[in-house]
């Protein structure tokens, strides 16, 4: 018992050796000779999906594997974020905005041979909106009152009130059209109508897809024979795999600080694009002291967004002033509503009765962006006499149960991935506990029209309300840090919706 012993070889040592081995591995791979044009691609992702059915669970990783590759919708969005027809060839909207008549495409079959027609479309939508539905965006279907199928190529949706965003919502991964025979098993063996069919899923490692030879759209058929999604959470391992050529593309590379290591690389390019990832520090608006608007405004003024972006995300990011990104329609730059001004912030805190300081706890998930942003905010708040304790809360399980569902928190920080989700502030219950009737009224107006310009005006108003009320601290939009092979073409540079659309991807000769 006298000798000291070290049975608990520290985890960091293990990781260190692992990355050392990976770095060594790159030296060999670089020598690999280029063969004939490749017909397969390996895409890297940081997060493995929890299942492969985007219509029954929320994680965006599900859609990033399946959407537009395996599954398609009545409508879709293109790489610029515009709504386009897909399984619905065209549509007509009645003047009162209450009846949508879709003309469905003929000659479409699922990967298992099932023929797509209006009854299948009805099945898919009924499944998504029904009582027992666990669809992550179920509320998108709530204004649908009935679904009629006058003939196999016609689908009629009757609405209870005008829903201007319906066509856009129908394009979401969660609105994917699933087959009547295969829907039950989509979680493990997804069957859709898309240009790729599912081959295999080795849990913890990869999902493999193969070209669908019977794809309905001959012009839009996949150019690749095979596609593999590989899952790798460690940024060091991601970088090593890219440099070794084990992975052809990492559309969402996890570590901004490693981006510069790819600069000037002979085979890899870096592509910085837009996303919808809004990093916001939500506050429990129902709890003291955050029920006082002035406290929230003061905290907002304590934050120098540009410095925060520099420190937390190596300068990759765009400051935002409300829950809206510069690529969304009708964006207004509101970062000037409560700009960085520690003196004013202090005065406002004193006015609210917290002149002697204030202490609270932030429940921050373990992700690098959240931890780093929290530490910087902690230092910035200290400047105005506010003490913020950081409590690391495991994401997703514990965060979802404590913060998202339980609303048992004071402040938290997370990146909201869903595009155009400003309506979360109108939801009740939602973890911000915001509840502003004026805001809700503005959002209702958005749905009354399907005219994009008019919607944009209302969205502008909604942004201004949030920027003034500061129910959450609006920090920045994360960019899409893409790293991929120079010869790989056709990947989306921007991400109007979380996705990895591979239809148009090919290798340049």
């Amino acid at each position: 018992m006298r000798r000291s012993f070290f049975p608990h070889a520290p985890a960091f040592l293990h990781r260190f050796l692992l990355s050392a081995a990976l770095v060594a591995g790159t030296a060999f791979a670089a020598v690999q000779a280029e063969a004939a044009p490749k017909t397969s691609v390996t895409i890297g992702m940081s997060v493995e999906p929890t299942g492969l059915d985007p219509t029954i669970a929320a994680p965006v990783a599900i859609g990033q594997v399946t959407w537009q590759n395996i599954f398609e919708g009545l409508t879709t969005v293109d790489r610029t974020g515009k709504v386009q027809p897909q399984l619905a060839e065209s549509w007509e909207i009645s003047p009162d905005g209450l009846t949508y008549t879709f003309k469905l495409r003929s000659g479409v079959t699922f990967h298992d041979g099932e023929v797509f027609d209006s009854s299948v479309a009805r099945f898919a939508i009924e499944r998504a909106r029904g009582e027992t539905s666990v669809n992550p965006q179920k509320r998108y279907f709530q204004t649908i009152t009935s679904i009629e199928t006058p003939d196999p190529q016609t689908l009629v949706l009757k609405l209870s009130k005008p829903t201007g965003s319906l066509l856009y919502w129908l394009a979401w991964p969660s609105s994917s059209i699933v087959g009547t025979r295969s829907a039950e098993n989509n979680k493990t063996t997804p069957v859709g109508t898309g240009p790729f069919r599912f081959v295999s899923w080795a849990k913890g490692d990869r999902v493999e897809l193969a070209r669908n030879p019977d794809y309905w759209n001959k012009q839009g058929a996949a150019r690749l024979e095979r596609a593999v999604f590989r899952f790798m959470s460690e940024p060091q391992a991601q970088a090593a795999a890219l440099q070794a050529g084990d992975i052809d593309a990492f559309p969402e590379f996890a570590a901004p600080e490693l981006m510069q290591s790819f600069e000037g690389h002979e085979r890899l390019v870096t592509v910085i694009g837009n996303t919808e990832l809004k990093v916001v520090a939500g506050m429990n608006n129902a709890r003291k002291p955050f029920d006082d608007k002035r406290v929230r405004q003061a905290l907002m003024m304590a934050i120098d967004r540009n410095t925060l972006i520099e420190g937390a995300w190596s300068g990759f990011g765009t400051p935002i002033g409300s829950h809206y990104t510069p690529n969304d329609p009708g964006y207004v730059d509101l970062t000037g509503t409560y700009p960085y001004d520690p003196e004013k912030a202090k005065a406002l805190l004193a006015e609210a009765g917290y002149g002697n300081g204030l202490a609270f706890t932030i429940k921050a998930p373990q992700m690098a962006y959240a931890q780093r942003s929290s530490q910087i905010m902690q230092a910035m708040f200290a400047e105005i006499g506010v003490t913020m304790n950081i409590e690391t809360t495991e994401f997703p399980a514990k965060w979802v149960s404590d913060v998202f569902k339980g609303a048992d928190y004071e402040m938290t920080i997370v990146a909201h991935a869903e595009p155009m989700d400003i309506d979360i502030y109108a939801r009740d219950p939602y973890y911000f506990n915001y509840g502003n009737p004026d805001f809700n009224a503005v959002l209702d107006k958005v749905q009354l029209t399907s005219d994009a310009a008019e919607q944009a005006v209302h969205y502008g108003e909604a942004q201004k309300i949030l920027a003034g009320d500061v129910p959450a601290l609006y920090l920045f939009v994360m960019p899409k840090l893409g790293v991929w092979d120079r010869k790989l073409k056709g990947l989306w540079e921007n991400e109007p919706i979380p996705s990895n659309v591979l239809t148009e991807v090919y290798w340049e000769e």
Partner: protein, 271 residues
Amino acid sequence: MRAGLRRPILAAGLLLTAGLVSLAVLSLFWTPRPPGQMQIAMRLKPPFEQGLLGTDQFGRDVASMLMSGAWNSLSTAMAAVALGASLGCALGLGAAVWRGWAQALVLRGCDIVFAVPPILSAMMLAAFLGPGRGTAIIAIATFMVPVFARLTLGGARQIWSRPYVEAAIGMGRPPWRITFLHVLPNIADQIIVQATIQLGLAILTEAGLSFLGLGMAPPAPTWGRMLADAQTFLGPAPWLAILPGLAILLSVLGFSLLGDGLRDLLDPRAS
């Protein structure tokens, strides 16, 4: 100096630990810059370019953080060892007095605690208490207890069978007096040696726990979290990982050498 040459292990151990302790204590009064102060414009500057040891991803001074981290590491480790050693010694001495089922209970208890890795018990504790310094101290102390319990039990049983102790028993001295007058002083050197060696282990475990986010909460700098934060900066800023790694290495080495040296000094027969 000559003593140092005769006992190079002890001298090296003393040198390293004295350096660590003095830096840790100094950090309470002075660091080159406030360890938590961020200067984001000055981020990721290499050693000598900005401060003695460069800056981290928030522009904090690495030298100051290492000094302050030394105190956080050392004080946590000392508290844990003190707690674990007193509990363990009490159990061991008690078991030596009562023998029989009490001894069996203590020994089996030790086996059970040994079977659970400290990282695991810390994670379970953190789930109840929330992560923090207290959790780290309790978790580290928990796996120190059996080490000291077994050590003192073994040592104490030897002492209890010595003739002068048997004489004391014959004179009707109560067991607690014998324990404190005869048993404890005779095994104190073993306990001190073990405590020194365990300090190094405690520092290593503390670093492991704070690496996993189960140690002291930020902004308090800890070596473990510095390492964790440095992971993705290995390429652009290798000093961020090397320096705290070196600090951990040298402290663990220091206490290990000091323990070995002390043992040689206190118990010449062992070597």
